[in-house]
Amino acid sequence: MKRAHLALLALVLCLAALPVFGGSYALRLGTMAGLYAVLALSWTIVGGFAGYPSFATAAFFGFGAYATGILLGLGVPFVVSVALTAVAAFALAGLLGAVLLRLRGHYFAIASLSLVEVFRELVNNATDLTGGGMGLNIPLAAGTGVLQEAIFFFYAMWGLLLLTALMAIVVASSKLGFGLACIRQNETASNMIGLNTTLYKSLAFGLSACSVGAAGGIYAAWVHYIDPSDVFDILYSVKPIVMALIGGLGSPLGALVGAFVYLGLEETVWRNFIQFHSGLLGVLVVMLLLFLPHGMLSFSSVVRLPWRRLKHV
């Protein structure tokens, strides 16, 4: 385990303790931070390690939210629902990945983007199961107070974040991570020397979707009401990419830091410019890409940066 990985775990554990001393606003913000960090870390496994520009995060986030929501509605316990959701997301993404990951570059980006649209339409039309455009109500856990529940979901999300961080570390330091780095640098060559690239890419896609799905599940149980335009919002696909760009592509620690920085910026903008918040988000994205080049250039090995070491995890 490398120093950067230890720093990653330490950061997760330290920040997990913080909101307990704050009020309910800090708890809400803390839960959002956990959610964003899970999404950014998961995206890093596909987009950072393997170098595939995936826009499918929103698809699996929505899938997870609906799967957990429906299971909870059937009376399945919370932990079991989320675990089942994660397994289902892994299987679904692995299967879809085996097909979609044959595409590269722009074509993969579009295919993953359209996955979100397809899932949303399917959920919209399966009115009997999902409530369609009316949305889905998720039952409240009986007998607990509002604050207890907020604390419970905060720890649920941060527990998931810890698991995701551990997963990213294990992937990075295993044969899988090495294979993904090979695929990022030269897929054709990796394939020629006998690396099963399809299997590796599908595994990475599945693992990424697995934690995204679980995060969607916890989110659904936390907010108690979801509808297709909320959980299949394309912004859930784009935000993790922006976070990873802020922190530096391909580094799990960078993704985590990027997620927290991004949340801070977003919250400031939301509080002060509610009418124009997504426009300012756009300004932020443009400024970031134009004037903070380490995020976008860390893809190439031309630039030497102090944290470049972290990239080749």
């Binding site: 979609l100 397809v118 592509l249 443009v286 890409l289 976008m296 893809f299």
Partner: protein
């Protein structure tokens, strides 16, 4: 009679889809940039037509003359000032950058015009032509004809003009074009400007037929994606073929399966095409 009506509708709608997609296809084909602002530019064009008609009673087909140069300048500026800086960066960067620009434009439109749907209602109404039970509204026919004219115009620019040949040259072999003395960043900006001009004009035509709202931008963008992938990248004939095929499949799907599944059908088709025939119906060699 139903089959003929579905076919006619698909023909009319297909030409409009081609017009929506052609500028998007040009930018993607020549610059290798997926231009996510395209949908919002279409809506901006629609608002332009709506505003001019509400304020001065200018009919949409006259607005086309003003919209084309205005959007060209807008697109040229965006490419020159912003996109050219990152044009050589990986896919993820250009894609995320145009997404950021789209957020700005889209949010600005929602802020200015609110999220309400608006409709450009021509007074007096144009009515419709009915031949043996097949009904076609006149305004749709005019919009279709205009879309065909715009598409033909782009074809002529690409085939006959010096700048068009330069764009094709850059598309076919960027390095060779540089060696022949083509100013790459200028050609990129002109191609992006042309794409924006076509988006604006398509928006003006859309205003005649469909309700206008900034929220519909993503729908137009989705159509442009599908048409591009179906027809093949960076070709006028490809956009026409893709537009007609998409409209036909949507029409048949909506009639025989149900309108709720039209989007799923078109996106499922997109994924199938991406996997089976990523070069599209017409192939993707050169912009002709």
């Amino acid at each position: 009679m139903l089959a003929v009506q579905v076919l006619i509708n698909a023909l009319v709608l297909g030409c409009l889809y081609a017009c929506i997609a052609i500028g998007f296809s040009l930018v993607w084909g020549v610059l290798n940039v997926i231009n996510l602002i395209h949908g919002s530019m279409i809506v901006l064009g629609a608002y332009l037509a709506w505003g001019l008609y509400q304020a001065f009673g200018v009919p949409p087909w006259y607005v086309l003359v003003a919209a084309a140069p205005a959007f060209f300048v807008l697109g040229y500026g965006i490419q020159r000032l912003i996109l050219n800086r990152v044009i050589t960066a990986p896919v993820l960067v250009t894609l995320t950058l145009t997404f950021g620009l789209d957020l700005i434009l889209n949010n600005a439109m929602i802020y200015l015009f609110k999220a309400d749907y608006r409709k450009l209602t021509l007074v007096p109404p144009m009515g419709s032509i009915s031949v043996m039970g097949v009904v076609v509204p006149v305004d749709r026919l005019i919009a279709t004809a205009a879309a065909l004219v715009l598409t033909g115009l782009l074809y002529l620019i690409m085939r006959r003009s010096r700048i068009g040949r330069a764009i094709v040259a850059v598309r076919l072999d960027r390095d060779a074009a540089v060696l022949m003395g083509v100013n790459i960043s200028n050609i990129y900006a002109i191609a992006f400007g042309l794409g924006a001009a076509l988006a604006g004009c398509a928006g003006v035509l859309m205003a005649m037929i469909f309700p206008i709202s900034a929220l519909t931008a993503s729908t137009y963008l989705g159509k442009a994606f599908v048409v591009c992938v179906l027809g093949g990248l960076g070709s006028v004939s490809g956009a026409l073929a893709g537009g007609l095929l998409l409209a036909l499949i949507e029409g048949v799907g909506a009639t025989f399966i149900g309108p709720a599944h039209a989007t799923t059908l078109s996106f499922a088709l997109l994924i199938v095409f991406l996997i089976v025939r990523p070069q599209g119906l017409v192939g993707r060699k050169g912009f002709e």
